[in-house]
Symmetry: C3
Amino acid sequence: MVNYKCFLVVLLFSLVLSFGLLCSAADNPSKRGRLRHDLNPEDPLTRYAKCQRECRQEEQSQQPQCQQSCLRQYEQEQRSQGQVQVCQQRCQQEEQRPEMKQQCVRQCREQFEEQNSRKEEEEEEEWEGRRQSHNPYYFPRGRHAQARFQEDNGNFWVLQKFAEKHHLLKGINEYRIALIEANPNTFVLPHHCDAEKIYIVTNGKGTLTFLTHKNKESFNLVPGVVVGVPSGSTVYLVNQDSNEKLTIAVLHRPVNNPGKFEEFFPAGQGNPQSYYRAFSREILEAVFNTRSEQLDRLFHGKQSQQGMFRRASQEQIRSLSQGATTPTEKQESFAFNLLAQKPKFSNQNGQFFEASPSEFQLLRDVDTSILGIEINQGSICAPHFHSKSTFVVIVTEGNGYVEMVSPRCSEEEEEETRSGEYRKVKARLFPGDIFVVPAGFPVTYVASQNQNLRFLAFGLYHRNNSRIFVGGKDNLVRKMDSAAKELAFGVPSKLVDEIFTDNPKESYFVSGHRQQRAFV
Amino acid sequence: MVNYKCFLVVLLFSLVLSFGLLCSAADNPSKRGRLRHDLNPEDPLTRYAKCQRECRQEEQSQQPQCQQSCLRQYEQEQRSQGQVQVCQQRCQQEEQRPEMKQQCVRQCREQFEEQNSRKEEEEEEEWEGRRQSHNPYYFPRGRHAQARFQEDNGNFWVLQKFAEKHHLLKGINEYRIALIEANPNTFVLPHHCDAEKIYIVTNGKGTLTFLTHKNKESFNLVPGVVVGVPSGSTVYLVNQDSNEKLTIAVLHRPVNNPGKFEEFFPAGQGNPQSYYRAFSREILEAVFNTRSEQLDRLFHGKQSQQGMFRRASQEQIRSLSQGATTPTEKQESFAFNLLAQKPKFSNQNGQFFEASPSEFQLLRDVDTSILGIEINQGSICAPHFHSKSTFVVIVTEGNGYVEMVSPRCSEEEEEETRSGEYRKVKARLFPGDIFVVPAGFPVTYVASQNQNLRFLAFGLYHRNNSRIFVGGKDNLVRKMDSAAKELAFGVPSKLVDEIFTDNPKESYFVSGHRQQRAFV
Amino acid sequence: MVNYKCFLVVLLFSLVLSFGLLCSAADNPSKRGRLRHDLNPEDPLTRYAKCQRECRQEEQSQQPQCQQSCLRQYEQEQRSQGQVQVCQQRCQQEEQRPEMKQQCVRQCREQFEEQNSRKEEEEEEEWEGRRQSHNPYYFPRGRHAQARFQEDNGNFWVLQKFAEKHHLLKGINEYRIALIEANPNTFVLPHHCDAEKIYIVTNGKGTLTFLTHKNKESFNLVPGVVVGVPSGSTVYLVNQDSNEKLTIAVLHRPVNNPGKFEEFFPAGQGNPQSYYRAFSREILEAVFNTRSEQLDRLFHGKQSQQGMFRRASQEQIRSLSQGATTPTEKQESFAFNLLAQKPKFSNQNGQFFEASPSEFQLLRDVDTSILGIEINQGSICAPHFHSKSTFVVIVTEGNGYVEMVSPRCSEEEEEETRSGEYRKVKARLFPGDIFVVPAGFPVTYVASQNQNLRFLAFGLYHRNNSRIFVGGKDNLVRKMDSAAKELAFGVPSKLVDEIFTDNPKESYFVSGHRQQRAFV
C-alpha cells in the first residue's frame, strides 16, 4: 500500500515536472537572464561584433537576415547614444542656472538609461521571436512547416497545424496554409484535395488549370492573382518563366477533417503514385473497357519520371498556357487580380488593397478576405485591430517588423483569472515569414528604412469584419465623450484631445518620424 | 521485466483509482446514506433546529438563504403531518363500517409514509443541489465564477466555462456569461472584447455607450433593456443612480477561441493597464505625431487612479447620459426593451416575454433568443421542453425552485448503453442563481408562496426553436391518436384523456393547487 | 532521485508501449504473415475446405456470409487457373517458332504468378475487412453498434460514435446513425429526441406519426420513404405488416451535444420509464388539475407492459394508419419517397436516385443528401469521388463489394509528412453493412454475379457537393490538356486518350467485363 501511494506520487510528480518543463520552454528565464547580463550599453561596437559571431552559428539561409539584424541594432544604439549627447549639449544652455544644468544632465542620463532598459526588454523579445520562435504567432520562413514534396524542381510545404504551434491558435485550426515553389519551366502534377482552396500568387508567372465536374478553367498567374479552387477539383500548374521561380501561398479549408487534407494524384508512378493503382485490375479493365497491358503502360511502368514537379518543354508550356484567362480586378468565374484593383486606401506612406467575400463570391466558401499592403520605407501602418477576423500575414517583399499587443494571461492554458495586462509581441519580418494576428489584438507594421515592406494576408472568418484604428488620425479614442476621456485617462480631456485629436495628421499609413519637430 | 509490468499495473491502477474517485464524487452514496439516517419524520421541530445549526457553518452570504430553506422544509413537514390528520379525521365518517374505517386509517398512514420516503429522496437531491453543487446544471450565485475585476466600486465576474462545470454542457461551451455589478455613481472603463456580446440589464439604471468603426451608440439602461455590442466595439458604462447598484448579465460569443475572451483597455495605468503601453515609444510618437513626455502623462503616469470601476461626479454622469437613446419595445439600431413589450402570454398566474433572432437583428450574430418570465407567487410554469435551444436562466427577483428531467445515463462520460431512465434535477432559485436547461429536457419552475419569481434567460442556438408543453392544457399527449395512448400507457384511452385532455384548464402558468377540489 | 528518473522512464516506456500495441493492432503484420504462408495456389480445393472449416468458428449469424465468401474465392482461383491454361494453349499456335513458344508459355505462367501474388494481397485485405474489422470505414452488420432497446418485439440499435471507430471519421462525429427493427404488428412507443432526424425505410411497411408543437403528421412507410422529424417532435410508429419486419435507418444530428442524443418517453412503466415520473407529485397534480390516484394509474402502476416495442391489435393498427399520408416523389410537408422518383441516371447496368437539400427542404437542417443505388448483377458503379460530402452507405439488398482508395499516411494520428501514397480499402457488402466514404476518396461498388446490389446512403455536409467520375466514359482525365496528359503520365497523349477517351463506352454503371473483347 505504501508502494502504491509512492507510485501515485511519482505519477503526479512526473506530470507536474513535464508541465514545468513545458512552461519553462515557453518562457526560458535563464536565457533572458544571460542576455541581460551580456548587454553592455557603453560599447555598441563590441556588441555588434559579438552579434555577428553568433550569426555564423545560424543556418546558412538565415545568416544574411541575422547579420542585417545585428547592423540594425548597432545603428539604433548609436542613435540613442547620440540623443543623450544632443540632450546634454542642450543642458549647456542652462549655464545661468547651474543647479538646473546639473538636473538637466542627470535627466538626460536617466532618460537614456530608461530607454536602454526598455530596449533590453524589447531586444530580448525580438531575439526570442527571431531565433527561438517561442512567439506563438510567428512562423519564420521555412520553420514550422513540413515538406510533402521536396524535389529538384520544386517544393510543396505545408505549415504546421496552428493549434500545434500554440493552443491560442486553435480557433483557426480548421484552416491550413501550404506553399508551392515551382522552378522555372516546371509543371506541377494534376491532383485534387479534400479541401476548399484559395491560391494567391506571391511571385513569378505561370498558368493554373483545374477541372470541376463540369468545366475546365485556366488562368494566367502573376503576383496578386487570387484563384479559388473548389474542393475535389483536379488542378495542375506550370511555371512559364525561364528564370524566375513561381511561388504560391494556398489557403486550405479541409472538408473531411478540420485541419487535415490529402492530395490525390491521378497520374504518377511513385512519389506520388497514381490513385488508379489502388483499384483492382479487373475493375479498371471493365470501367476503361481495355486490356491489362495498356493499363500497365500508364500505371505500372517503371518510368524514370518521378515527383510532383516535372520539367516541361517550351512547346508544352506554350500549349498549357494557350487560351488561359487573364484575371482582372473583378471576378469573372474563379479568379481575380487583387493588385490590379484601385487601392482601398493610399497615401505617400503606403497603400492598401482588400477583397472581401461580400464582393468576391469565390471567397465565400472559405469565409476569408484577402489583404494586400505595401508600406513605404520608413513608414508605419497605424496601430489597429480587426473586429472579427484573424489575419494570417505572408511577407512577400522587403523587410520590417510587426508589433502586436497580446493579453498576458491568455498564453497560459489555464482559465484566465486576470485581465487588463498585456505584453508586446514583436517579430522582424522577411519574405516568406508568416505572422498571425488574432481578432481584437492591436497591431502595427513598420517598414525598414531602406526597403518597402509588402505583404499579403488571409482574413479568416471574415463575415462582418471591420478595421478599427487605435493610432493615427482615425483613432477610436477621439470619438469618446469628454467625460469618458477624463474618467478613463485620469487627466483633463483637453490633454487627451491633444494627443488623440489635435496632433495626428495621417490615416492608415503614417511616416516613421514625427511630422512637426516640436522637440528642442 | 517484472518491475516494468508492475509499474504498468500501477499506472493503470492509478488511472482507475482517479476515475473511481471522480465517480464517487459525482454520486457520493455515503453522504446520501448519512442524510437518510438523520431524517426523523416524527419530529419536524428538532430537524428544523438542526438544519439551522448546520446553516451557521455555511459561508456568510449563503446563511440567509440556508435559513429560509430550513424554514420552508419545516413548514412542508408540518403541512404534510396535517394532511394525515385531516385524512384520518375523514376516516371517522366511516363509523358505520368499522372494517372500512380501519383500512382508511391505515391508508392515510401509508400515504403519509410514502410521501415521506419520496420527500427524503427529494430533499437529498435538493441538499446536493444547494450545498454541494454536484448538480451539473446549477450555478448558485457567486459560485463557479471568477472575478476578473473585484474592486471597491464594482465587480466583473465571468462564469466558469460550461464544459468545465460538467461535460454535459460542452455543447454550449463556445458561449460565456459575465456579470457586471457597478456601484452607485460608478463609471466602467472603456474596453473592447474579442467576442460578440449581448448585455441585458437585470437591475438598476445607467447609460451604456459603445464605439463601432463608424459610429458612437449610447443607450439608457433600465431592467429588461437588451443591448447588442458587436465584437471589437469599445464600450463604457455608467451607473446613473446614487443608491442602487447597476447589474448586467453579458452573453459572450468569442470570435478567436471558443469560450475564451479578453478585455482590451485603451486607458488605464495598471489593473487594467492601457494596451497602448505595449507599443514601442517610437511608434506611438510617430503615429500620434507627439512627444514622449505627452504620452507619459497619459500612459506611464503613476496616478492613484486604479481599477476598471471609477467613481464619477454628478456632472460627468449627466454628461455621459446626455443624448442617449431610450430603447423601446422595438429594435432601432442596437437595443430594445424586452419588458416594454406586450407579453407573448399572460394570465393570472404569470407572464412571459420573448425576443427571437427572427424579430431582432441584434440577436442574430449570437444566434440567441431572450426570455423574460414572471411567475406569480404560488404558481407554476407548466412543464415543457424546447426543441432546439439550450436555455441559460438567470434569476433576477423573488424565489422558488426548478424541477427538470434529466436522462440518467447521460451524466456518465462513457457511451450511453441504456435509455429511458430519468432522474429529477431540482434546485432552489434565488436572485443571481443560474440554471441551464438543455434542449429536449422537460422542465418546470415554481414560485414560492410569498414572492413572485422573475428570471431572464438566453436561448442559445435559437434557429427554429419551439416550446412544447408536456403539462397544462396544451400538453402534447392530448394530440396523440387514441390507439397510441392506449398502447403507450397500457390503459383505456378514456383514462388517458381524463388526465391530459379533460382536467387541465390552464396554459403556460397554472396555479399551484388543483383548481377544482374533486377530493372528497 | 535515481528512483524518480527511473519512474519517469517507466512512464514514458508504458506510453510508448501502449502506443506500439495500438499501432500493431492497426496493422497486425503477424496475421498477414500467417495468411501468406497458408496460401497454396496450386490447390484451390484444399483451400476451399480449409476456409469452410474456419467459417464454423465464426459467429452463428456470420456463417452463411463466410461460406459464400469461401465459395467465391474458390471460383476465382479456378477461373484464374483456367486462364493460364487458355493462355498456354494459345502458345501452341506458335509451333513454327519454338523459341517464341517457350517464351509464350513462360509469360503465361509469370502472368499467373503475378496475378496470384496480387490476389494474395487483396485477399488479406478482404479478410481483414470482413473478419477483423480493422478497416476504419467498415461497420459490418450488428458490429460497432449498441442496443439501447433489445426486446422480443424489436430492436433499437445505435451505431458507435464515428470518431470512436477511427479518428479519421471525427469529421462526421456530430452525426449518429440508429437502426430500428420492429417485428410484425408491433407498435414503437412515443418518444422525442434532442436531435434532428431523418428516417429512411429500408424494409417493410408501416405508419409513422409525429407531433410538432403545432400539428400531428402521419405517413405511410414503404422502402425508400424518407421522413424528416424535427428535433423535439414526439414520434411513434407501427409495423402494419403481419409477416415482414419493418426496418428503418435513422440519421441523427444532435442539438445539445455533438454525437450524443437521448430518447424521452412520455409513457412507460419502466424500460423505458415515463419522464413524467421524474416530476414531483404536487406539480403533476397542479398542472393536470387531478388527483394523485389518477396519476398513479398511468405512471406508477405495476403493469406487465414493458419495453419500447409493443404488440398491437389489428384494430389498433388500422386506427393508427388511418388518415396517414402516402409520400410521393415530391416533398409535401415532411416526407417523400426517394424510389418513387425518376432515377437521376439509369442504364442496363444499374440506376441511381438522389435527393438533395436544395430540392428537399426537410434535408436542409441536417445538411444531408439521400442516395439510392441499384447495381445489376455483375455490374460496377464507375469509380468516382464526391467533392464535399462524406457518404454513409447502408446496404439494403443483394451483395457485392466496395473498393476505395485511401491515403496511406492519413491513418496514423501523427502529422502527415508524406503524400501521394494510397492503399486499397476493400470490403464485402451484405444487407445491414455500413460503409463510410469520405469526400475526395475515389470509390467503386461491384455487384455480385448472382444478385443486384442495392444500397441507400446519407451524404453528410451536402452543400454544393458534386460527383466526379475517375472511370467510365465521363472520367475527368479526358478533359485534361494534351500537354498535361503527356507530362503527367509520361507517355504520348495518344496512349492516354486511348484508355480515357476512346475505349470507355458507358457512364455511371458499367458491365463487369470488357464490352469488346480485344484479347486474342
